[in-house]
Each structure stands twice: as C-alpha cells, then as structure tokens.
Amino acid sequence: MLARYAVILWTLGLLAAGEFALELRASARGFRTLLFGAPVLAAPASDGEFGPSSRFPFRSRIAPRERRDGVTRIWIASASYAEHVRMPVESIWPVLLQDELKARGLAVEVLNASQAGWEMHRSVRTLRELGEAWAPDLVLVYQMSNDLDRIASALVGRAVDPEADLDAIPEPPAPPSDLDPTEVARQTTAYELMRSKFGPLVGDLRPQCDGREPGINAAAAARIEARFRGVIACGRELGATPMLVSFATAYPDPEQPLPPEFAAGLKRANSLLSSEGWRRWVRLGDECMRGVAEAEGVPVLEVAEVIDGRAEHFVDQYHFTAEGHRLVATQLADELEPRLRARAEAGR
C-alpha cells in the first residue's frame, strides 16, 4: 500500500530529514530551533544569575520582585536591539548598563523587557501587564525599526487593511496551539532560512517607497508620534519617569551606499521601503521622537550621538556588536548618572 504513496512519503521524508540537518547546523551556530530549543550562546553565564526565567521575565540580571529601598529600577522597553539573543547575555547593553551604574556607585536594577519584533504597542502592553508588579522608576524607550515596518505595511503596502486602527493597542493574540501546523511550520529552520533567502528577492520585486512622499510621511509621522505618546503615558500611569533614547544605525545617511548584506537585512524586515526610504523614515522618526519629548517634557538620552554611523559597531543596520553594546551602555550610564544622583538627592 505504501508503494502507491511513495512519492508523497519521499517528499515528506526528505523535508523532515532536511529540516533535521538544518536544525542541527543552526543549533550548533547558536540559533533557537524547533527541536533543539534555546541557543547555546544565549544561555546564562551561570545558572540562576540571568533571566528570563519563570519568575523573572526579563533578559537581564535576576532581581527580586519586592522593591528594595534605595534601589532604582530601570525598565528597558525595547526589541531585538536590547534582547539580542545571539549575544551572550552578559554582553548586552541592558546588563552592561546595570554593571556600569553599579560600578559608579549607583544602586540600580535593570529589567530588560525587550523582545525581538516588539513594537511600541507591544512594549506598552507588557508594561501594563507586568509594570505594576515590578514597579519601575524609569522607563527607557529604545524603539524604532519595528514600528516603521508596521507603519510602512499599512501606509505603503495598503493591501493589508487600510482602515486598520494602527494606533490602538492590539489585544494579545490567542496563544497558538502546539499542534497548529502553521505555527510549527513557521518555527522550522527551513522556513526561516527560505524566508531570509527569498524574502529580500521577492521584496525587491515590489515598488518601493523612497520616503520622499509628503502625504505618506505626514501620516507616518502622526502614527510614530502617537506611539511615543502612548508609551510615555503608560510609563507615567505606573508612576515611572519615561525617557526616550535616540535610535542609532550603522549607515544613517540615506545617500550613503549600504553594503549588500546590510541592504538584504533591511529588505528582510521591510520590503516596502527602499534602503534610502527606510533611512529617511528613521530620521523622520527621530524628529517625531524629539518633538514628542519636548512637548511632553521627557528627556532624550543621546545614544545615537556616540554610535550613529559607526558601522564597525553594528552587525547589521541596527543591531550592535559586543563593542557596540558596551559603547551604548557607557553612553547611557553617562546620561543617566547625573539624573540618578539628582533623584537620590531629592530622596526619590
């Protein structure tokens, strides 16, 4: 009987064998895979020292949930730029920031609530879900590219749902069933690999926005501002002080040629904006952020000032190398130190 369906069995068997081989390779290279689980590189330096764990849902040094007197809690609302699972946890900037501030004699705990792919909306939801229990004093917002991707898909792509209310906080999606074939397929290494290889090629076929159209830019600016306002308001609702962090990229100048691997990386994430358009939108986002910060009386911590355009400190257009993480942490510590001391003196 099986001989009749041999062609189907061969197809499925070869797919399974191929996936197994790809997962083995990916796991050995430090990627999370469906069968082998978490990447080796992302494992904590020593057991129990770093989250995330079932009791501490942040990728940073584990801290007790109960607040300790005299300790300032810094919540990092960010995405892959701060989570960076391929980087050893002790080398990412939120952890280094805590170490740096402690070394300067300041008692702080950093709660790194960042995950790859998160936009500001998602950060707001996490703040609402966990903020009360963890009671942060400061909320540092380092977000940009994921929001631009989403806004571009609505304003430039338009095919999805032009009427979608992008500024509403989305409800959490129902957790996917372990047996949902689509979810399982999306977690396979073969799928990831194919998407990353073919995605940019397919994306290249589409007409792309170069970030020069005033109408679209104005609509994008309104959405970006609304998002920054949303996260600021949420931080304040929790009694925390929100602070915005300027977004840094490897090649910020839209006219500057982008190395092919950087361009391909951008295309994977956003096939609707050209690389020039994407960089113009980052500038637009930066202007919006500063405008909102001024209007809301929120400080902007200047990370971009020290690292923007220094491509040697980036692994792609917006993820840092180990040295890049160190520079960011040091710069943030420089920016935060006087503010934290002032807070301490004021008795807060």
Binding site: M1, L2, A3, R4, Y5, A6, V7, I8, L9, W10, T11, L12, G13, L14, L15, G18, G157, R158, A159, P162, P181, T182, V184, A185, R186, A190, Y191, L193, M194, R195, K197, F198, G199, V202, D204, L205, R206, P207
Partner: protein, 469 residues
Amino acid sequence: MNFNSAEYLVFLPVVLLLHGLLAGRERGRHWLLLAASYLFYMSWDWQYASLIAFSTFVDYGLGRAMAASEDGRRRRALLVASLTTNLGLLAVFKYFNFFADSAESALTWVGLDVEVPHHRLLLPVGISFYTFQTLSYTIDLYRRQIEVERSLTRFALFVSFFPQLVAGPIVRASEFLPQLSSPRTVRAEQVRRGVARIFRGLLKKVLIADLLAATLVDPAFANLESAASLDLVLGLYAYAFQIYADFSGYSDIAIGTALCLGYELPENFNRPYLSRNVREFWTRWHISLSSWLRDYLYIPLGGNRGSQRRTSFNLMTTMVLGGLWHGAAANFLLWGAYHGLLLMFSRGADRRAGEHAAPARSVFLERAICFHLVLGGWLLFRVQSMGQLGDWIRGVSEMRPGMDARPVAVLLLAIAAALHFTPRGLVDRAQERFSDGFPTPVQGAVYAALVLLLCGATLDTSAFIYFQF
C-alpha cells in the same frame, strides 16, 4: 485551510494514507472522505457545516421523493422546493444586504428616508459552488437524466467533496455520483500524476498569482488617485494573469487531489486568453460554471431557439446572473452585463459574417482583440466601487508620467503571459514525462525543494480569489 497552507500539507497526506488503508472498503472510504470534507470545511468556521448539511438533507430528501413519484405536478413542486430552498439560502446569505442597500438607495433617491434591515451573517465559504452542485442534481433528476442517489453518505460526499468544495470546479451529479458508485482503485501512477498536478497549481498560485498581486496589481489598485498611468495599465494586465493563475491554480490542485484519491474532476480552464472571440472565451474560462449556466439557465430560458431579440435577452439574463453569482456588488453585475453585451455583439458579428464573405483577419489579431475585450471586463471585476472605476479611467487618461513598477516585476508579467501562451500539450507532456519517467526519490526531492521554494516565496498565506464567491 487553504491549499497553500501548512495545514493542508499535513491534512492531505493523512487523508490519502487513511484512504489507502481502506482499499476495498468503499463505504469506509466514503465515510472517511465525508468526515475529512466536513473537517476541511469547518476549518473556516464550524458553523458553516450546518448549512451545507441542511442543503444536503433537503436535496437528498426531495430527490428521493421526486424519484418515487410519477406525478408531473408533484415532481415540479418538489423541484421548485429544491430551487427555493437552495436559492433562498444563497439569497439570504449572499444577496440580502446588497438588495437591502440597493432598496435603501432607491428609496432615498425618491425622497424616502427608510432604513431597510440588514443582517450580520458571514458569507459561508463556497456556498455558490455547492449550491449549484446540488441544484444540478435535483434538476437532472427532474429531467430524468440521472438516477436517484439512494445512499445519503454518497450524496453528502458529492455535495461536500473537499478538493472542489470551496472553489470548484462545479461537479455535476451526472459526473460524480457514478464515480462514487463504482469502486475506485488508486494506482501509484495516478498518485504521481496527481501530486505533479498539485504542484503545478501551487506554482501558479504562489509564483505567479501572488507575486503579480504583490508587485503590480495591489500597488496600482491601492493607489488609483496618484499612480502613474503606465502602472495602472500594467496593474490591469497583471490582474488578468493573476486571476487566471490563481483560479486555474486552485482547479489544478483540486483536480490533482481528487486524482490521488482515484476520482476525476472536469477540467476548468483551457488557456482562455487564446480565444478568438468572447464566445470561445466562455468555453475556455471557468468551464464548469459557464457550461452550468448554459445547461441550467440559458437553454431553459429558450437559448437561441427564439427570435434574435429573445436570444439577446437570454444571453444578457444569463450573463448578468452569472456576474451576480460571483458577488453581490454592482461591479460584478456590470461585469456580467458587459460580457452579455459582448456575447450579443459576437453573435451579431458571426451572423453578418455568415451573410458576407469573412474578412481576412489574422488569428493573432482576433486573439488580441478578444483578450483586450476580456481585459476591460477584468477592470470591472477588480475595482471595488464605481468611484474606483472612475479613478482608474481618469488615471490612465491623464497620462500621468513615470513608472513605479520594478522592471523585474514587468519581466514576471511577461513570463506569466508567455507561460499562458505556451502550447498546453508541451506543458502536459513535460509534466507527464516527469511524473511517469523520473525515479520516485528524485520526484520526492524535487517536490521537497519546491515546498521550500514556495515557503520562501510566499509573502503571506493569501487565500484564493474565488474563495470569496
């Protein structure tokens, strides 16, 4: 559960293997396929199943009653009951809100501000397809062209057979019920051919239809007010090939899946853009629908047996209703009327050609003219409102400069066109040579590679266009 989804990649092999295990036990196989078909259908919304089950029970019961009666009036009453029930369901779920809107607009126009009630029921997937299928059964039974089906299981399977349930081909009772009554043997060669056909459909859907949509069609139609004229024109050409690749791709997957189970479904497309006139187009495009409309609507209305005026009326009625079958919207109605007009002119031209010597026109020219006439229809089909239609026409007539479309996307359109015009025999022979001549492991490796390629090229798992009808 789309055909181009991970769910179907799991669902189909499981059904095929269970079907294989039940070889020689036809009843068991029918139960399996019936359960699989309902599962497949309920993957959109479990509530839809009650509707298809209701339709099945009604037509099964009416069919039995019709077969048991020799009284012409009673048989006619039973047929009317079947028509009323099936078309009534279609009217409620698909057309009620459209007619309510139209009534409201008409009343407003005469100065009456009346709010006509609407419903919020979702349109069940594939309702137009299976309604026409069950109607073919009761009408053929009334005409005594087929025997009554006494097994409820077989009848239910005829109505809900999953490969063609949601988007055709529309299979008639006379084509499918005899296949269910005889034991089906599934041979390895059939499975290989079926799988090859499935992949042919998937390639059409993912590499042609979806890519054309993402690169040329959607950007142009999403931006009618400001897109360059050339982009708008390219978008329309691309849509002609998108809708063909999308729908014929679906039909290929349906036919291939059925073949793997030992059943034969009718062909639904025959390179329609090679037609030399619109009448020929309708023998090549969505063949199962056009032949259904011909046999169950146009001919009963009188066909071309009456006066010219009557024939024109019959043609127009058939095509307008055919347009409305696609959707309850003014653009579909216009699309149907447009094709009705084209068919009327085509008939007139043929008649005049019969009276005078035929002009020496090249086949190429005839095909080009026919293609562009059909293209005009696709514009009506694609726009979502009359306002959009006006925007497109304005956009093209203003001769807006520039072109946003990528040259590679235009090349893709050229490839899609070239593939369409490739002789069918060539493609079929290549497909058969591959499925019959290559060692099975090699075929498996090629299909595995294609699955990966399709995963990579899939922008989003987009549904087939004809699911909405």
